[in-house]
Amino acid sequence: MPKPVLAYIRAIDAMNRFIGRIAMYLIFVLVGVLLWSSISKTLFSPSHWTLETAQFVMVAYYVLGGPYSIQLGSNVRMDLFYGGWSNKQKAWMDAFTVFFLMFYLGVLLYGGLSSFAYSLGQPYNVGTYEFFGDLIRTLFTQGFDAAGEKLGHLERSSTAWRPHLWPVKSLLCLGIFLMLLQCLAELFRDLGRIKGEAI
C-alpha cells in the first residue's frame, strides 16, 4: 500500500473514532433531556423545547456515531453466502459492493446539501452549489457579516418552539460525509487485504 493511502486510513479511523466516542455519550444527554421533560411536565408547566432537542440529539447520535459503528463492524450483513467465504473472498466482494454503498451515501449527501441550502434561504433562481460557493467566497473575502447578508429566509420548524433547521441539516450532511470518508477507508483496507496486507 502506498504511504499516503495508509496515512489516509489511519487519519480517518482516528478522526471518526474520536467523533464517534463523543457521540457515544450523547445517550446520557438524551436521557437527561427526556427526564427533564417529564420532571418539568409534572412539577410545573411543560417545556416545549425538550421534544425537538431530543430529536436533534438523536440525529447527532446516530449520524455522527455511524462511521464508528462501521469501524466496530456492527452493521449487519446477510451472511447466507458471505458467512462461508474466506477473508480474501469477502474482501474482493466488499471492494466491489462498497461502491453501491457509497453511491447511496452520495445520493443522501446530494439531497442533504440541497435541503441544507433551502434551510439557509437559498434563492429559488440560484443553484445549490452556486449558492454555497457564493456564500463561502463572501465569507472569506468580505467576512462574516457580509456572508450573513447572503442568507435568505431561514427555515424554521413548524412547532411552538420554532427552532432553526439549518443546524441539524448541517449535522446530517457532515455525518453523511464522514460516512463516505469511512467507506473509502474501508475500500482501501479491503484492497490491502486482497494483496495480503492487513491494515
Binding site: 457515544m24 445517550i27 417529564s38 431530543a54 446516530y62 459503528s69 456492527s74 466488499d94 439531497g111 435541503s115
Partner: protein, 440 residues
C-alpha cells in the same frame, strides 16, 4: 414500465444486493436511491434524504436507544443473576421446575427490555450451565432458552412493535398493550408443554436433589427480594405512562435511568461494564437507525412508484384469493423469508410490503402487529438461518452443537404456531386489553 415490472425489479435487485453480503443498509439504500433516480423523475434523488427528516420527526423512535441501553445495562452488569437464583430455589423441587423457572425469568427480563438478545445472553450464560449441571436434557434446555428469550419482542416494552408502529402508523401504547396477553399466554403454553413433557419423561428434567432443596424459609424469602428489581423498573416505567403523567418516550428514559441507577446501587457498574454497555448501545442503535433510514427511503420510492398496488392486485385480482387466505399466505411467506433473511432486515423489508395490504384488506392493524411479532419470533428461530440460532451457537457451551440447537426448537416452534393460530382465530386475545384501557 408497468407497476408489476417495477415491483419485481426492485424486489429482485434488493435480494441480489443483500446476497452479496454488503451491509444491509447499503444494499437497501442503493436500490431505493437508484430506483428514485432512474424511475421517479424530478425530485426522486432527494427522497432518500427526506427519509432522514421523517426519521427525525418520528417521536417514538427515541425509545429505541433507551431500551437498547437498558437491555445492555441489565445483561452486562449481571444484576439479573439474583433473579435466576430466586427461580432456582423456588421452582427447583418440581419436575422440570428449573426449566419452568427459566421461562419465568425470561418473562421478567422481557418486561424490562425490548429485544431478545438480553434474554438470550442471560439465559445462555447463567441458566444454561446450571441446568446442564443438574442433569437436564441439553436439547430441552436449549429450546427453553431460545423460546423464552424470544418473548422479549412481544412483551412490552418491545422494540419490534415500536418499529412496526412507525411503519403501520399505529399508536405504540395500544400495540404494547396488545402484546401483553398473547405474550403471557405463550409463556403459559411453554410452561404447560415443559410440565407435561417432564411428567411423561422425568429424565429430561429431574427435580433438585434432596440436599439442595434444603433451603431455609428465611433464605427463600430473602431471595424473593430479587424479584423486586424487575417490578420496580417496570413500575417506574409503566405507572407514569399509564397514568398519563409522562409520554412513552419519557417513560423509556425513566426506565433506562432506573436500570442504570440499580446497577450503580448494586455496585455492578464497573468501568468495563459501563464502557461495554455505552459502546454497544451506540453500535446497535446506529445499526438500527441506518437500516430504518435506508428502508424508509426504499419504502417511499417503492410505494410511490405503485409497486405496493401491483402486489395487492396480484393477490386479490389475479390470484383471486379471499382476505384470510392472503393473510395466511403472507404469514407463511414471512416465516420462509425469516429462515434466510436477517431479522432486522426482514423487519423493515416485509412490513412496508405487507402492512398497507393488510390495511386495505380491512384487518385491524393493531391485531396484525401482534401476529407480525409472533411470526417474527418464529422466523427468528427456525433453521437453517434463524438469527437466534447463531446467537445461541455463539453463546452456548461447546457440548451443544448446531444440530442440538436445530432439534431443540421444533416443539417450541410448534407451540408458537399454535399460539399464532389462536390469536388469528380469536383476535380478542390481543385486542381485549388495549380496548379495555383505551375504552374503545
Amino acid at each position: 414500465m408497468s407497476y408489476d415490472m417495477i415491483a419485481i425489479l426492485m424486489f429482485a435487485s434488493m435480494m441480489l444486493m443483500l446476497l452479496t453480503g454488503q451491509r444491509v443498509f447499503g444494499a437497501i439504500g442503493f436500490v431505493g436511491a437508484a430506483a428514485g433516480m432512474l424511475l421517479w423523475g424530478t425530485g426522486g434523488v432527494e427522497i432518500p434524504f427526506s427519509a432522514a427528516m421523517k426519521l427525525m420527526k418520528w417521536y417514538p423512535l427515541l425509545t429505541l436507544p433507551m431500551f437498547i441501553f437498558m437491555g445492555y445495562v441489565l445483561s452486562e452488569s449481571k444484576i439479573a443473576d439474583d433473579l435466576y437464583k430466586m427461580f432456582h430455589v423456588w421452582m427447583g423441587p418440581v419436575k422440570g421446575g428449573l426449566a419452568i423457572g427459566t421461562i419465568g425469568l425470561m418473562v421478567l427480563i422481557s418486561a424490562m427490555n425490548g429485544l431478545s438478545v438480553a434474554g438470550m445472553a442471560i439465559g445462555a450464560t447463567i441458566a444454561l450451565p446450571e441446568l446442564l449441571r443438574r442433569g437436564y436434557d441439553k436439547i430441552m434446555v436449549t429450546g427453553v432458552i431460545q423460546a423464552g428469550s424470544s418473548l422479549g419482542i412481544l412483551v412490552p416494552p418491545s422494540v419490534v412493535l415500536v418499529l412496526y408502529a412507525m411503519i403501520a402508523r399505529q399508536p405504540v401504547g395500544q400495540l404494547w398493550l396488545a402484546g401483553v396477553v398473547p405474550g403471557l399466554m405463550m409463556a403459559t403454553m411453554f410452561i404447560i408443554y415443559i410440565y407435561v413433557r417432564c411428567r411423561l419423561q422425568p429424565e429430561l428434567g429431574p427435580p433438585l436433589p434432596e440436599e439442595e432443596r434444603n433451603v431455609s424459609m428465611a433464605e427463600k424469602l430473602r431471595l424473593l427480594r430479587a424479584g423486586l428489581l424487575p417490578l420496580v423498573i417496570f413500575a417506574a416505567m409503566m405507572v407514569p405512562f399509564v397514568k398519563g403523567w409522562t409520554s412513552l418516550v419519557e417513560s423509556s428514559a425513566i426506565g433506562a435511568m432506573t436500570a442504570f441507577l440499580a446497577a450503580i446501587v448494586k455496585g455492578r457498574m464497573t468501568r468495563a461494564v459501563f464502557e461495554t454497555s455505552v459502546r454497544s448501545t451506540l453500535a446497535i442503535s446506529c445499526m438500527f437507525m441506518w437500516i430504518i433510514l435506508a428502508a424508509l427511503g426504499f419504502g417511499a420510492i417503492f410505494d410511490g412508484l405503485g409497486a405496493v398496488k401491483a402486489i395487492e392486485s396480484l393477490f386479490t385480482d389475479q390470484l383471486n384469493l379471499n382476505p384470510w387466505m392472503i393473510l395466511i399466505l403472507m404469514q407463511l411467506s414471512f416465516i420462509v423469508m425469516g429462515t434466510f433473511l436477517d431479522d432486522t432486515a426482514m423487519l423493515v423489508i416485509v412490513a412496508p410490503l405487507y402492512v398497507p395490504l393488510v390495511g386495505e384488506l380491512g384487518f385491524d392493524l393493531i391485531w396484525y402487529g401482534v401476529l407480525y411479532t409472533i411470526t417474527t419470533q418464529i422466523a427468528y428461530m427456525t433453521p437453517p438461518f434463524g438469527y437466534n440460532l447463531f446467537l445461541m451457537r455463539a453463546m452456548a457451551p461447546p457440548e451443544i452443537g448446531l444440530r442440538d440447537i436445530y432439534i431443540s426448537i421444533i416443539p417450541f416452534a410448534l407451540v408458537m404456531v399454535v399460539a399464532l393460530s389462536l390469536v388469528m382465530i380469536f383476535p380478542q386475545i390481543a385486542l381485549w386489553l388495549p380496548d379495555y384501557v383505551y375504552g374503545k
